[in-house]
Amino acid sequence: MDFTALGAAIAVFTGLGAGLGIGMATSKATDAVARQPEADGKILKLLVLGCALAEATAIYGFVIAIMILFS
């Protein structure tokens, strides 16, 4: 049997962590803006940075899944 697709599917599981991480970051950012609306510029900057770092894991999983499927 060929388990290549299964391996790719497991690699894409990294999306789980990225989704949870970005969700948590966004909820905290919403809290922070509700508490201090005047600091929204700084909070947005940090949120974008945090989301980009959290999202990286999902992207690595995706790249590895593509590498498994097509090489």
Partner: protein, 229 residues
């Protein structure tokens, strides 16, 4: 299944666009390089048109808009870099504009050059060389070497590993995002070529591309800021 064929076509096709005879073999010019030339031409022409006939008094609306945009971008990047590294603003703005335009070139029907891993790898290498050069320039060679054992000697291996991890993650993040967006857009076009791809194109081609360009320069300027402190 034809989806697999479609993906094969996107991901594994021959990237060489122009074959120049070179010695005994051929010198291949990749499609990403040709699209980069087209983007350079577009940006240059846009700059020439936009900056044509500037005056000191009685400025036109076009000049006011261009000046407001330039001041806004430079202020945004300058805030990211901090005061000490403000001299690197021009490079960062250049990379931001290039990445923004090239990520959005999918709108014009081109294959985005950032979908080629060689392009993102080159940009990431440029970033890390600039970061370390900025560190050496501001702290001196001794200070730069000392920064590897800060805050403790124990973390020195981690700091040295970061030299490779930083450009790798910059390169992979941009490449993975753009290739993911392009693959999803091709699949959507395959499912229903009419009307459906429009909202997704706004998200994947414009929003995601701009966010990724911003994230790339944000991380680069963060590293520079860290290196000069």
């Amino acid at each position: 299944m034809d989806i697999k064929e479609l993906l094969n076509e996107i991901l594994l096709k021959d990237k060489a666009f122009i074959h120049l005879p070179f010695g005994n073999g051929k010198y291949d010019i990749y499609e990403s390089v040709v699209v980069t030339w087209i983007i350079m031409a577009i940006v240059l022409v846009a700059l020439l048109i936009l900056t044509h006939g500037f005056k000191v008094h009685n400025i036109s609306k076009r000049q006011a808009a261009v000046e407001a945009f330039v001041v806004w971008v430079r202020k945004m990047v300058g805030d990211m870099l901090g005061e000490e590294a403000a001299g690197y603003t021009d490079y960062i703005v250049t990379v931001l504009i290039f990445l923004g335009v090239s990520n959005m070139s999918g709108l014009l029907g081109f294959i985005p050059p950032t979908m080629d891993i060689n392009v993102t790898a080159a940009l990431a290498l440029m970033s890390i060389v600039l970061v370390e050069a900025a560190g050496i320039h501001h702290k001196g060679t001794k200070g730069w070497l000392k920064s590897f054992i800060q805050p403790m000697v124990v973390v020195a291996p981690m700091n040295i590993m970061e030299l490779a991890i930083k450009p790798l993650s910059l390169c992979m993040r941009l490449f993975g995002n753009i290739i993911g967006a392009t693959v999803i857009m091709e699949l959507l076009k395959h499912v229903l070529p009419f009307a459906l791809p429009v909202p997704f194109s706004v998200y994947f081609d414009m929003f995601d591309g701009l966010i990724q360009a911003y994230v790339f320069v944000f991380l680069t300027s963060l590293y520079i800021k860290e290196a000069v402190e």
